[in-house]
Amino acid sequence: MKINLKSPVSTAIAIGVGIIVLAGYFIPSFVNIRFILLRTGLVLAAVALLVGIINLITVHIKKLGADSENSGYSLILVIALLATLIIGIIDMVQTYLVGKPNFQMTSWIFTNIQLPIETSLLAVTAVSLTYAAASILRKRMDLFSIVFFFVVLLVLLGSFSIPPATLPFLHVIRDWILRVPALGGARGLLLGIALGAITTGIRVLMGTDRPYGE
């Protein structure tokens, strides 16, 4: 008879660690053990990053083999990843030989490649957000969408500092929207999210939700 010990052991660990970490927030004598468990969790998360990168490479190598129009992007990703990895290892060896931190090449990659790419992607996000706001009425022509659209319009107009959008009442309306309905709505949503998050966490602690296999 084959006995599956994985499920009860993983469930017991998840519930036990969860309860101790939770207790650490409320009971001062559990604070130290909570920090030890959290630090262990962070180390394991770093190990998971390695596993994730292996998964990332595997997925894109598979895409390279497939007859796909996106295989070129996968090739670029694999080459960039391996190049960054090799440069990172060289930097680490140099740091070890010199005896002080020396990550010049890695910093160069982040400053001159990663940062400009992420910044330009942020700029594209602004365009994409504008498109999404403009197309909401085409997607759903209901009362809430109309209110959403005109509130966005009013808040944007109230933020401008060039005529003719410098009318004083626009600023007053914008400030009122931000202080009263927007703040109240955001608080209401946050309360709902907090309630949902608490029940999700409790279900994991009770073992009824097991997002770590069966």
């Binding site: 998360a45 990053l49 998964n55 997925v59 909401i136 959403f148 999700t200 409790i202 770590y212 296999g213």
Partner: protein
């Protein structure tokens, strides 16, 4: 123990008590009356479409991990993934899951493996996959675009932790004319989702997935527990407003401070 710590324990004990109570009193009930959420109806509808036309669902779990504030959203996303895998077990092409966090990627693969084993998906059927497609929010969003543009993907379900970059993913789904169901716990991203997704999940709706997709009595009980606590909060807010209007709050504060 501090007053905050005591309040925290009271809230958690209250929630656990209510969840156990509601799951106990409703254990024999066949039907459960909960308000309709169109996005979850759409998920079930899209699973049926995928079964009929042999297409595939894409579930993206965002770039949140399990060690920060984003963990609840990520766990809720994993719960929805599990239900979708179980319900789409007869699809020719099982769902594809993508994430931008390595820990969630491992958990997604584990969830997929566990759910497939539980519903006895035979080995000759293509296995569902959990892919890590980028380790920063932007690289994840950019990587997810190729999966969304796959002609075989009939619908996209985005549940997890997303920032404003979700606008790329949702607008890409719209351009493909495929339904987009999306929910996150980050407020600015919720506004983006409302504007750009065909079926948005707003506020706590993201965490109610299990109750609407048939994950069990405890999920339904947690919805009832949330409702009870929500009414308590409403009562406290209204009572505070009333006390403030009558000026009694200052009186109580002075009593608590010991100045009277």
């Amino acid at each position: 123990m501090s007053a905050t710590g005591f309040t925290g324990i009271v809230v958690i004990v209250l929630f656990v008590g209510l969840m156990v109570f509601f799951s106990f009193i409703n254990k024999d009930r066949k039907t459960y009356n909960i308000r309709p959420i169109p996005a979850y109806d759409k998920i079930i509808q899209e699973i049926n479409v995928a079964v009929e036309d042999g297409s595939q669902l894409h579930i993206s779990l965002g770039s949140g991990g399990i060690t920060g504030a984003e963990s609840a959203a990520a766990l809720a996303g994993l719960g929805i993934l599990k239900q979708v895998i179980e319900k789409s077990s007869v699809c020719d092409h099982p769902p594809v899951a993508s994430t931008g966090n390595p820990v969630i990627s491992i958990l997604a693969q584990d969830t997929i493996k566990g759910s497939s084993k539980a519903i006895s998906v035979s080995d000759n059927i293509e296995n569902p996959s959990g892919e890590l497609i980028g380790v920063t929010p932007f690289s994840y969003a950019a990587g997810a675009l190729s999966t969304i543009r796959n002609d075989n993907v009939s619908a996209n379900i985005h549940t997890g932790w997303f920032g404003n970059e979700i606008t790329w993913i949702t607008t890409a789904g719209e351009r493909q004319s495929s339904p987009t169901i999306a929910g996150t716990s980050q407020l600015p991203a919720q506004a983006v989702i409302y504007a750009s997704a065909s079926d948005p999940l707003i506020g706590e709706e993201l965490f109610a997935g299990g109750a609407y997709l048939g994950a069990g009595k405890m999920h339904q009980a947690s919805i009832s527990a949330q409702d009870v606590v929500r009414w308590i909060i409403i009562f406290i807010i209204l009572a505070s407003v009333l006390l403030n209007i009558l000026g009694i709050d200052v009186f109580i504060e002075k009593i608590l401070a010991g100045s009277m």
